[in-house]
């Protein structure tokens, strides 16, 4: 899909042919903390030429956004930014006055943020946001602005631009909103475009088209600084990649070479954590557990705490960024060491009561734990029309197996989960749990069998009573306290915490104080407390960083290994679904368009939508590896 070159748009030639448009060296950004200013970005340096794309990759909290925003002086009101060199073409960006900054922002550097629904003013028309940039930089005389806005929308492939310009952001689809946002950022023809997580909020199919759009801009000579936590997005656009961890560049080099031959342990872990094609059935995360990246006392290598190759020297002094190839540098002396191979899910950690669940499955129907047949559910939308959200969905869950449910947002996945959990009554069709009638049914009749099926929610914080500590959160699921002495209850909670890889002491802590990954582990512990036969997981990992996501997926694999629980796993991320599922259900607009064993569906996708999804999955850079 080669984008047509932009008609009649005068490209500003770089000041000196081939010279760097952006030249940064020794960039340091600090924020005032409780104990004095703490640095979030340490001694970062890079350069960017016209028509080139540098991607900065890292997990949340690594400082990648702050680095990018420092280039437009928007690192944050209280931030202190200093650098040995921070140049945009001929201009020195350190010490610009507010007026001078305003000329640079939008005029010479454009910034595109993550979610257009929040990055476009919901109360104003889409056209007005674009017009604002034109007015700020007087790109065109005032009367010509409306026409230019329509031109820009056309240029960024927004159909019916006249109509769209006069609509509000919430009336556009995700993809169109993002195009409008990019149009607004590029309206004054800036030389450089900073794209901060431009596609994270979009569905897979839409992501691809936005990345193509950016590729066109790059081809037209715009320099692009891409910020992302998702390596698969980076592979389609970036010429060079810099991997960032705890405020430092740990690896920086040409994209193809770096992704094919990752040298720094953190880069390797990121790539290994990608639930791409090869790693099915293998553990994604190294066995070092869930230590969080953080400031390393004594100035040693920041990654030492999580690095499988770490030795005493690593903790003593921070390694320098050394050249290891043409334009490829790494901040680690031990890149040549052998990388430990992935391991199979551990079966060793089994709780005392594991035998029970398998035993409870009625042998008769081939181990089918839950059967949903012909489920239908519709909702009345505000304008009085009723919309079918779930249309004739049927599937069967067998013990020890995972059913993956994939579909874009709004396809009806969560409603299926609610129906299966008995939180919503279906308009038609039924659900049978362990051979008994489960839904539709009177809640009182259903209540005794409630503990058989449990939910792992997407947002654990919302699913915990704000007043409860972790111990109470899990305790509630253990059923009425009466049947257990407080001491035994405490012991069971401790065992459950240990089961999900959390220390016993977490029982007294408040969920608010925990990290995203730790909260999800508490949610899983709570779901396991009643010893369910079925686990329904509604997008459990979509809000987590890649490395944390890897650990949680491994935890799910371990649990299924020792408990034989049946799992319905819902996600919009095909990679994750491929990794965890045995069977797969593809949903689109309330209907199941395709289902079957994962290997069969991925090998020979029959429905065009499934085919489009699989093609949308970024090619894994790593050659498939034998299990």
């Amino acid at each position: 899909m080669a984008g047509s070159s932009v008609e009649g748009q005068a490209r500003r030639t770089a000041d000196v042919a081939g010279d760097a448009l952006i030249d940064v060296e020794g960039l340091r950004v600090g924020f005032p903390g409780r104990h004095g200013p703490t640095d979030v970005v340490h001694d970062v340096g890079f350069s960017l030429r016209a028509g080139e794309c540098l991607a900065i990759v890292g997990e949340s909290g690594s400082g990648k956004s702050v680095t990018a925003r420092a280039l437009v002086g928007l690192a944050g009101r209280a931030a202190t930014v200093n650098a040995r060199r921070l140049r945009l073409g001929g201009t020195d960006l350190t010490g610009l006055s507010d007026k001078e900054w305003r000329r640079v922002r939008g005029g010479r550097i454009g910034l595109v943020l993550q979610d257009a629904l929040q990055s476009l003013d919901p109360l104003r028309l889409v056209g007005a946001e674009i017009a604002e940039t034109l007015a700020n930089h007087r790109t065109v005389p005032r009367p010509a602005i409306p026409a230019r806005v329509i031109e820009l929308l056309e240029q960024f492939r927004v159909p019916e631009p006249e109509v769209r310009a006069r609509q509000h952001p919430h009336e556009l689809s995700g993809g169109l909103r993002q195009r409008a946002l990019i149009a607004a950022a590029m309206a004054a023809n800036p030389d450089v475009l900073i794209a901060d997580e431009p596609t994270t909020a979009l569905d897979l199919s839409v992501q691809a088209r936005i990345l193509d759009l950016l590729a066109e801009r790059k081809a037209d000579g715009t320099a692009i600084l891409l910020i992302s936590h998702d390596l698969s997005v980076v592979t389609r656009l970036a010429d060079r990649v810099a991997v960032m961890f705890a405020g430092r560049f740990v690896e920086h080099g040409p994209a193809a070479e770096l992704l094919a031959e990752p040298r720094h342990p953190y880069t390797r872990e990121l790539l290994a954590a990608l639930p791409a094609l090869h790693a099915k059935g293998l553990r994604l995360s190294s066995a070092r557990g869930a230590g969080a990246a953080g400031q390393v006392p004594g100035g040693g290598c920041a990654f030492a705490a999580r690095c499988p190759l770490a030795i005493a020297a690593c903790r003593a002094a921070e390694p320098e960024l050394a050249e290891v190839g043409a334009g490829h540098s790494v901040r680690c002396p031990r890149t040549a060491e052998p990388w430990p191979g992935p391991t199979t899910p551990e079966v060793s950690r089994r709780p005392s009561w594991t035998a029970a669940p398998a035993g409870t499955v009625p042998a008769g129907n081939g181990g089918v734990v839950l059967a949903a047949s012909g489920l239908v559910k519709s909702f009345r939308s505000p304008d009085r029309t009723t919309r079918r959200v779930v249309d004739d969905v049927s599937f069967e869950l067998t013990a020890g197996e995972t059913h993956g449910l994939i579909g874009e947002s709004g396809a009806g996945k969560t409603t299926v989960a609610q129906l299966v959990l008995g939180l919503l009554e279906p308009d038609a069709g039924s659900v049978r749990l362990l051979g008994q009638e489960w839904s539709p049914a009177r809640e009182a009749a259903r209540r005794p069998a409630r503990r058989q099926i449990q939910l792992v929610p997407q947002d654990p914080m919302a699913a915990f009573d704000p007043r409860y500590p972790v111990g109470a959160v899990i305790g509630e699921a253990l059923g009425t306290a009466g049947s257990r002495t407080p001491r035994r209850q405490k012991a069971e909670v401790a065992e459950l915490l240990e089961l999900v890889g959390l220390d016993e002491s977490f029982a007294a802590r408040r969920p608010r104080e925990l990290s995203g990954g730790q909260r999800q582990r508490v949610a899983i512990a709570r779901a396991l407390a009643p010893r369910p036969a079925v686990l329904v997981c509604d997008e459990p990992v979509s809000a987590l960083d890649v490395s944390v996501q890897a650990q949680i997926l491994d935890l799910f694999a371990d649990i299924q290994a020792w408990s034989g629980v049946a799992m319905l796993f819902i996600s919009h991320d095909l990679g994750v679904i491929y990794h965890v599922s045995d069977q797969i259900l593809v949903m689109r607009d309330a209907r199941v368009v395709e289902s079957g064993r994962v290997e069969d569906v991925f090998a020979r996708p029959r429905h065009p939508y499934t085919r489009e999804l699989i093609e949308g999955l970024p090619r894994s850079p790593l050659p498939p590896r034998a299990p």
Partner: protein
């Protein structure tokens, strides 16, 4: 929302409003019956009337009929738009309230404009910048919220009217007789407006769309006016119900302090003088005003924030 939907929504809300007005009128009638003493005796005023006069007036006003019949008669008249006759003021209630309503609305409107203007100025100036000015301003707003409006009125009257003689003291004639009462009433609401506006603006300034706008080169004040202010207005609009109550309640007190005519005092004298038709008249006006205000709030918030249109009624 298409035309048909708006019409249906409006119809529903008007019906609801009518229900509220009827409820208010009934409540006032019931409350009236609880008031101690024989209303007819009170209506006859200071000189001690004879029993004959008492019976004659109660027959004339229909108080001798059972309560339900009296209320039925009143509702029947009300449906025909006749608010009845005030014995105490010797004039039709509609005429009495009409003349007084103008004074109260004039006072409330001026106070609202002053308060809104002041609040927007304060909020735009201090939202998210100049921390010292912001602290001083929010403290003054707090004092304005806390000080009783009649105390403020008394002090302003003493300083500006009696001591400095800049402004007239009594009556509600002429524009400059409106300045002091309107300022006093405005002070009782400007504090809350400013705080709601500033909080709304500071919340909006933290949103991604402001960062995008700054990244497109928009200046600080332009961002506050173009992006932050509209967002801050939405919570302010939901306050309309409270504001209406505050202005009307304040009007009663301001009218007493500045001895201005107005709806508040009419109701006060009507309650003391047991003038039922006037009490009911003021109730109807206040209930209708409230019903229209709540419809207005809904409509206004939908126009300012189109996302609300998707929310069912």
């Amino acid at each position: 929302m298409t035309g048909a939907e708006t019409a249906r929504w409006l119809g529903q809300r008007l019906a609801l409003g009518l229900l509220v007005v009827l409820g208010a009128v009934t409540a006032a009638f019931v409350a009236f019956r609880f008031m101690p003493g024989n209303p007819v005796r009170v209506l006859l005023g200071a000189a001690t009337p004879t029993q004959a006069q008492l019976n004659q007036l109660s027959a004339q006003l229909g108080y001798d009929k059972p309560a339900v019949v009296q209320f039925g008669d009143y509702l029947w008249q009300l449906l025909h738009g006749n608010l009845g006759y005030s014995y105490q003021e010797q004039q039709p209630v509609a005429e009495l309230i009409g003349s007084q309503l103008a004074a109260t609305v004039e006072l409330a409107a001026c106070a609202l404009v002053l308060a809104l203007g002041g609040a927007v100025l304060l909020a735009v100036a201090t939202a998210g910048r100049w921390p010292f000015a912001r602290a001083v301003s929010s403290f003054l707003e707090l004092v304005a919220i806390s000080a009783p409006s009649f105390w403020v009125g008394v002090l302003l009257l003493e300083v500006f009217s009696f001591r400095l003689r800049l402004l007239p003291a009594i009556g509600s004639s002429g524009p400059n007789a409106l300045v002091l009462p309107a300022v006093t009433l405005a002070l009782s609401v400007v504090g809350v407006f400013a705080q709601v506006l500033r909080a709304g603006m500071e919340q909006a300034l933290g949103e991604p769309f402001v960062l995008s706008s700054r990244a497109r080169g928009t200046g600080q004040t332009a961002i506050r006016l173009r992006h932050a202010l509209p967002h801050a207005l939405v919570p302010l609009i939901t306050l309309t119900g409270w504001t209406l109550g505050q202005l009307l309640s304040g009007a009663v007190i301001i009218e007493t302090v500045f001895s201005r005519q107005g709806l508040g005092r009419v109701l006060d004298t009507a309650i003391v003088g047991r003038d039922l038709p006037v009490i009911e008249g003021v109730t109807v006006v206040s209930a209708v005003a409230f019903a229209l205000a709540s419809i207005g709030v809904d409509w206004l918030s939908r126009t300012v924030d189109p996302r609300l249109r998707l929310v069912a009624v």
